[in-house]
């Protein structure tokens, strides 16, 4: 069969060139109580020294500290690709004696980024939308506990529908191998029980080779990742210097897969799923937020009079509404509805086409 060469197979290359030119931005949030090695891990992951001069305040100062959200940007360049990485840190989380509602500022922050994006998207000038949405949240679990603590559960439930969560066990060199396995299993069970949706690494394509598939399956089994971070190089009598932590009884090597899951985390987060994290944030989490937001805007008449005042007060504080004039919003909704309908029609047509082709193919095989 002669196929005419059209040439759109070069499309991926064009996309690649465009994105290299545009650069790539990614927002990563780290959360968890202090002292779990978050800063060290970030520095290890991205080979930066973002937290060099940090001063952790003393306990008495932290007695009345409220949670703050800190943002830091860093540009990393590798192989001609520029990545503008924004790190969001949550110092003070889980520190106080009373941590009730200490996750609310984090939730608020995530929603604010969505709100900003919604506003930009619905605005008139959409050329240079800055994407400040949080694409991924690395949540650090203590290796000293017996699984998720009440605070962990509360935080994860508050954010799991709003951000991609990758759970991580910090300072994993506190655990012996059996303990690590048991802790991971316990955490997985708890996540299931509490119905917390963490980021699902997508299945690899069926045409990948067996080796890759096996590696992929192994990586998925090791979630939550038990990590150890270090920016210090240890020059042992070994063959080469390694990044690790030197103890009197031996040296933990950060990049040794038998010692910890650092390599797995780096591979899955940075090397293979950076783009997917962004897409899931946009297609799933952001769309969910947007739908909730616009729905509450679009149907005020659906609520009965008795609860309207109460709801409007609630919605004023809970659901941040974009400040667009009503006429424009309604027009927008109608447009989007049209778009949705058109896309659905297209999908149906494509599905029908596929079925036809399959049926035809079977016919020709049978002949």
């Amino acid at each position: 069969m002669d196929k005419e060469y059209v040439g759109f197979a070069a499309l991926p290359n064009q996309l690649h060139r465009k994105s290299v030119k545009k650069g790539f931005d990614f927002t990563l949030m780290v959360a968890g109580e202090s002292g779990l090695g978050k800063s060290t891990l970030i520095n290890s992951l991205f080979l930066t020294n973002l937290y060099e001069d940090r001063q952790v305040p003393e306990a008495s100062a932290r007695l009345t500290q409220t949670l703050t959200i800190e943002r830091q940007g860093v540009e990393i360049e590798e192989g001609g690709i520029k990545v503008k990485l924004t790190l969001v840190d949550t110092p003070g989380f889980g520190d106080s004696v009373d941590c009730s509602d200490c996750w609310l500022p984090v939730v608020r922050f995530i929603e604010e980024q969505f709100e900003q994006y919604l506003r930009d998207e619905s605005g008139l000038n959409r050329k240079n939308i800055q994407d400040t949405r949080v694409h991924c949240c690395l949540y650090f679990i203590s290796p000293f506990g017996r699984g998720l603590r009440p605070l962990d559960v509360a935080f994860l439930r508050a954010v799991h529908e709003k951000v991609n969560i990758i759970p991580v066990i910090g300072k994993a060199d506190a655990l012996m191998p059996k303990e690590t396995q048991a802790l991971k299993q316990k955490i997985r069970d708890q996540l299931r029980e509490e119905e917390i949706n963490i980021y699902q690494f997508p299945d690899c394509d069926s045409d990948e080779d067996e080796d890759f598939k096996r590696q992929d399956a192994e990586m998925k089994e090791s979630i939550p990742f038990a990590v150890v971070g270090s920016c210090e190089v240890v020059r042992d009598d070994g063959p080469r210097p390694v990044r690790g932590r030197r103890y009197s009884w031996g040296t933990v090597e950060v990049e040794n897969p038998h010692h910890c899951d650092f390599l797995n985390l780096r591979r899955m987060l940075v090397q293979t799923h950076l783009q997917d994290l962004k897409e899931v944030t946009h297609d799933l989490l952001y769309e969910g937020y947007r739908a909730r937001c616009l729905q509450s805007l679009a149907r005020p008449g659906a609520r009965d009079r008795a609860s309207r005042s109460k709801l409007s007060r609630q919605s004023a504080t809970e659901i941040p509404l974009p400040m667009l004039p009503l006429a424009e919003t309604e027009k927008l909704i109608r447009e989007k509805d049209e778009e949705l309908r058109r896309m659905q029609e297209m999908l149906e047509k494509m599905q029908a086409q596929m079925q036809q082709n399959q049926a035809q193919g079977e016919q020709s095989d049978a002949l």
């Binding site: 002292g35 003393e58 009440p150 509360a154 506190a174």
Partner: protein, 358 residues
């Protein structure tokens, strides 16, 4: 001793060498030669041997409390300290117990014997401490328990017909487990120790210290010591209770260099250099619990059991208990509590107010 009341009591104790119905804590006699012209050997120094024999016969009580967030290895450490399963749980890692919603106090007693000496050891566990989202005042049940034991003892003391040997359930030692964050103390740690250091002997320990390198350990310890000092928290051995220069130098060294002890506990044995040792086996090495190059467990054990066990009891009896007793008598108008003139029973002293740091 600086306080008035305790001084007279111990002086009274020392002058009477015949054991009374209520046993005095065995005070080691310091060799004092007032008059070096002894004309012969009298045999007074055999009193030590007599006291030892008596102690061996009667045995003694020791009550140790462990406080700290769940998962810091409290039960394992106590089991390691006393080389037996004395803590409330079996020492397997996969414990399915749920974190209680409020702090519970669970006391378990065991009788341990070594070299003919019997010790009735009670381990008091405090599950639920520091595990909730809101940990405000989670130390109150603990303080209440400690005061209740003082109250129990007091009631026995003021009885007309007193028991020959009052059962001592007072907490002699409270091991407070600090999480090895490597940064500093947590606000909850400060709050607990501020409230409880005036009521019970607190020995802070850094739990699961195998996550810190040598430098991290020494930096962390320095910061913790400084924070405790700045906040006016006196952990055991308290400076003000050093009896003489010898005590002071010995305790100063411990206070300023060794404490808080960075410990690792284990109930598993591994083969190292032909010996079986308690430890933790990781892919990068075996951590030996009793190896001073690895952690300070041996220091803690020697401190609590081999050198300061008796002193812990004495300070509890002569200082903390006396403070409680004095307060109770004051509140009751100088009368013993229990059956007062009006026949009313007053409740124990409420929680001590938090001393403000100057």
């Amino acid at each position: 001793m600086s306080k008035g009341l305790p001084e007279t009591r111990t002086d009274a104790a020392m002058s009477e060498l015949v054991p009374e119905p209520r046993p005095k804590p065995a005070v080691p006699m310091k060799p004092v030669s007032i008059n070096s012209n002894l004309l012969g050997y009298i045999g007074i120094d055999t009193i030590i041997e007599q006291m030892r024999k008596k102690t061996m016969k009667t045995g003694f009580d020791f009550n140790i409390m462990v406080v700290g967030q769940s998962g810091l290895g409290k039960s394992t450490l106590v089991n390691t300290l006393f080389k037996s399963q004395v803590s409330r749980k079996a020492s397997s890692w996969n414990r399915e117990e749920k974190i209680p919603k409020t702090v519970e106090i669970k006391a378990i007693g065991h009788v341990i014997e070594e070299g003919g000496v019997k010790m009735k050891l009670t381990v008091i566990d405090t599950p639920g401490f520091g595990d909730q989202i809101n940990n405000e005042n989670c130390w109150e049940p603990i303080e209440k328990y400690i005061n209740e034991q003082y109250e129990k003892f007091l009631k026995e003391e003021v009885n007309i017909a007193r028991k020959k040997r009052i059962p001592d359930t007072r907490v002699h030692c409270c091991l407070y487990f600090i999480s090895p964050t490597g940064h500093s103390l947590r606000p909850l740690d400060l709050e607990f120790m501020k409230h409880l250091s005036k009521v019970v002997n607190i020995i802070p320990v850094i739990a699961k210290a195998d996550t810190m390198t040598l430098e991290e350990k020494s930096e962390f310890k320095q910061r913790v010591r400084k924070e405790l000092e700045v906040n006016g928290i006196e952990f055991y051995p308290q400076k003000e209770f050093d009896e003489d220069l010898e005590d002071k130098t010995e305790n100063d060294k411990i206070r300023q260099e060794s404490m808080p002890f960075a410990v690792v506990g284990s109930d598993k044995e591994y083969q190292v250099n032909g010996k079986r040792v308690l430890g933790r086996k990781t892919p990068w090495g075996i951590i030996e619990v009793e190896n001073l190059n690895h952690c300070e467990f041996a220091l803690l054990r020697d401190f609590v059991i081999r050198t300061h066990l008796q002193d812990l009891k004495e300070v509890t009896h002569n200082i903390h208990y006396e403070t409680y007793r004095a307060k109770r008598l004051n509140d009751n108008g100088g009368l013993p509590p229990g059956e007062g003139l009006l026949g009313t029973v007053l409740p124990p002293v409420p929680a001590t107010p938090c001393p403000t740091a100057e």
